[in-house]
């Protein structure tokens, strides 16, 4: 039985469908039924080509050109010179031995940042999701509290924490009041890096908590009930039931967090500017500074660096997908 709303919708859609039917029948006769699918895919392919594929081609084109001109036609072809410049290193573990030392400092900073940030964030997100999945008081309120920072703009997040941590910030005022004495957190390289990790975890944890919470709620209750009847310990339930059944969701969280971690830029840039020195300069900031902020603007070097980052991200994603497939196949 159709509702009144359905019948109105039908009245609107039917003439449109009839109007489309005529040219589609013509196309079907012209192309054949098998090729007609391409007609339906064409709008999406065009959009994908314009906004995803074309920029990649453009990026590759810039990466093999040099100079400081913006227009490709004005840029000399240099082949792999930009890649060679980035990879010219006596010892990759020591940025000072590299020709493009700032690139390698950014690479290592990013590696450490991603390792710490993803590790800490996933662990805390999982813990928080497990707690929020239980029947606790004011559960809805706490879910909102943990998700709230995700809604903030990265620049707002950075400014909030800058006001708290700067020399005359809230934290130092509190420490002075307690008699402990303040500290210039953002001028000390190690502390600035540590606070950047903290800020990033604080800002993004809510998002991953939400995904893990959805994953936890998708685990059938009867599995837990069976475990309870078998008197399995809480740790055993977590290790043998929760973790294995949550692993597909965990993989999604890991891949997303990893990619997002490597792309970290705006909040840390607004927080520390990449300093002190290059202590919190990550790879995207390096690309931005070489390509857009510095003088001269080295678009080729920036494009080459961004392709290297893209390559690393593709490899990491493929490895993770392979691991997941392997674990799914037992």
């Amino acid at each position: 039985m159709r509702s009144k709303g359905d019948s109105i919708l039908l009245q609107v859609i039917t003439p449109i469908m009839r109007a489309i039917e005529i040219p589609m029948l013509g196309l079907q006769r012209l192309l054949g039924i098998n090729h007609l699918a391409w007609v339906f895919l064409l709008p999406n392919l065009l959009l994908f080509g314009l906004f995803a594929f074309f920029p990649v081609i453009l990026n590759v084109s810039y990466a093999v050109t040099g100079g400081a001109n913006v227009l490709l036609v004005d840029r000399p072809h240099v082949g792999a010179q930009n890649f060679a410049q980035l990879l010219d290193c006596a010892n990759y573990l020591d940025p000072n031995s590299c020709r493009e030392d700032k690139f390698w400092r950014a690479v290592w900073n990013t590696t450490w940042f991603v390792t710490l940030q993803v590790g800490i964030m996933v662990a805390f997100s999982l813990l928080t999701a497990i707690v929020l999945n239980r029947e606790i008081r004011a559960r809805g309120f706490f879910r909102a509290v943990f998700f709230f920072p995700v809604l903030l703009s990265p620049v707002v997040v950075a400014l909030i924490w800058k006001w708290i941590l700067q020399r005359e910030g809230v934290l130092n005022a509190f420490l002075d009041w307690t008699g402990v004495g303040g500290y210039n957190w953002l001028v000390d390289a190690d502390w600035a890096f540590g606070w950047s990790v903290f800020l990033s975890v604080w800002a993004h944890m809510g998002f991953y908590t939400l995904i893990l919470l959805a994953g936890l709620q998708a685990i059938p209750r009867d599995v837990y009930e069976a475990a309870t009847m078998d008197r399995a310990s809480a740790w055993r339930v977590f290790r043998r039931i929760t973790l294995p059944l949550l692993s597909p969701t965990m993989l999604v969280v890991l891949v997303l967090a990893l990619i997002k971690g490597v792309q970290t830029f705006d909040e840390v840039y607004a927080f520390t500017g990449g300093g002190p020195g290059t202590a919190t300069t990550f790879i995207i900031q390096y690309i931005y500074e070489e390509g857009f902020a510095g003088a001269p603007r080295l678009f080729g070097l920036a494009a080459a660096a961004s392709l290297l980052v893209a390559g690393v991200l593709v490899v990491l994603t493929l490895v993770q997908l392979w691991l997941n497939r392997r674990s799914a196949n037992g």
């Binding site: 040099g66 913006v70 227009l71 020195g277 003088a295």
Partner: protein, 421 residues
């Protein structure tokens, strides 16, 4: 038929009138104080005298002038005119005003500063009007000196003398920072030249690694590490990001602040009678040079404009002596217009402290080294400013030794010059 005739006549009239109709001129402007506001005001007189011309002053942050404007110009989507500080670096985009203005007047009024806008290409084009002449120099908190009972060093005192005095004052008055220099290669250059750096040799060869430059780098790093300099300013940022210490000085937390004449308005309005402040110019280095860096901003038109004559007319209007003098007085800047400078400027609403500060800066112009003028006019100076800020900061935080930082500055400069070749 009557309707058709009417329609046809109207269409023809609109077509013929189109070029004479509103010419919209977009002026990208940033302010150190109130410059854009004053330009907007005086340009309303130009608009009144030139019906159909609409000059829109787009006020943007300084960072947009540094970072966005060059990309817009390269992409052919820049404004018609702008207030810029990378005078020589953007010269390839400038509109030559010469065909539209009185060359003799401009050459008499702006003299050598016209050359700063010609970049590496040289020639005799008139590319821009130097709207505010600046010079770097030091502001000192005279009240802190008085409270500490420390005598202020004499006019020909060295950087070492000032460092010792500032440390003594800070210690006696429990002030957090004895000294600070703005985080930019431009401000760093004045003292570096005073320490013997050539930076841009007479034959135009640039260097950031000669003995004088290395000597001041070592001294500056040492001062940052022993607490003489406010470490927050250079170590608290990454990349080539600009950072000043004006707020620390205004808050009374800083004894000696090396910045420039453009800060006078801000000091005047924000320090008020909280304490007495004074401009002492640029201290001397061990080689006997006591140089600051000249600089400033100028108004330029861009060759990609659709209305070159109108843009030239707008800039020419601003360059007229009476208008220039009014803008200078209202914005409390040093004039680059030689006629206005010779006649003297009665700075509007300036306190005695601000007037004295501007006079002190103006007097200090005589001490500016030719090397400093060469550096200011050098087309690739922005690249050199950025390299200095980045590498010196790395030396301060310990990522590089002073020797390595100087070596990196040399190789960075070589790479930058190769890229713009």
């Amino acid at each position: 038929m009557t309707h058709l005739k009417l329609f046809g006549t109207t269409a023809l009239a609109l077509t013929l009138a189109a070029p004479a109709m509103a010419q919209e001129i977009r002026f990208m402007c940033y302010s150190d104080g109130n410059e854009c506001e004053v330009y907007d005001d005086v340009l309303s007189r130009f608009e009144a005298a030139n019906p159909g011309v609409d000059v829109i002053v787009d006020v943007v942050p300084y960072q947009a002038i540094l970072e966005n404007l060059p990309v817009q110009l390269a992409a052919g989507s820049g404004p018609d005119m702008a207030k810029v500080t990378d005078l020589g670096g953007l010269s390839q985009y400038y509109l030559d005003l010469a065909p539209h203005v009185d060359r003799a007047y401009w050459e008499a009024a702006f003299g050598d500063t016209l050359g700063w806008y010609r970049g590496a290409a040289g020639g005799n084009a008139i590319n821009g009007m130097h709207s505010q002449l600046t010079i770097t120099g030091a502001f000192v908190n005279a009240t802190l000196f008085e409270q500490a009972g420390v005598a202020m060093p004499a006019a020909d005192a060295s950087w070492d003398d000032w460092a010792a005095a500032a440390r003594a004052v800070a210690a006696a008055t429990d002030t957090p920072f004895p000294m600070a220099i703005d985080r930019t290669g431009h401000r760093f250059a004045g003292p570096a030249i005073s320490y013997g750096a050539a930076i841009v040799a007479e034959d135009g060869t640039p260097t950031l690694s000669d003995e004088g430059f290395a000597a001041f780098t070592a001294q500056f790093v040492e001062w940052n590490n022993d607490g003489t300099m406010a470490r927050d300013v250079w170590a608290g940022q990454g990349g080539a990001t600009y950072q000043d210490a004006a707020q620390e000085f205004i808050n009374g937390e800083l004894v000696f602040y090396y910045s420039g004449s453009w800060q006078v308005g801000r000091m005047d309005s924000q320090v008020g009678d909280l304490f007495d402040w004074r401009v002492v110019g640029s201290p001397c280095g061990p080689v006997g040079v006591c140089s600051g860096m000249p600089g400033g901003a100028g108004i330029v038109g861009f060759a990609q404009t659709q209305h070159p004559e109108t843009v030239a007319a707008v800039i020419d209007f601003l360059a007229q002596e009476d208008i220039y003098a009014e803008v200078t007085a209202r914005t409390r800047n040093l004039p680059a217009h030689l006629g206005v400078a010779a006649a003297g400027v009665d700075f509007e609403g300036a306190s005695p402290a601000a007037a004295a500060a501007l006079s002190a800066f103006a007097a200090d112009l005589a001490d500016v080294s030719p090397a400093a003028f060469r550096y200011q006019g050098y087309a690739n100076n922005r690249a050199m400013f950025g390299i200095t800020a980045e590498r010196v900061s790395q030396a301060i935080v310990g990522e590089l030794s002073v020797e390595d930082a100087v070596a990196r500055m040399a190789s960075d400069l070589e790479a930058a010059l190769a890229a713009v070749k």
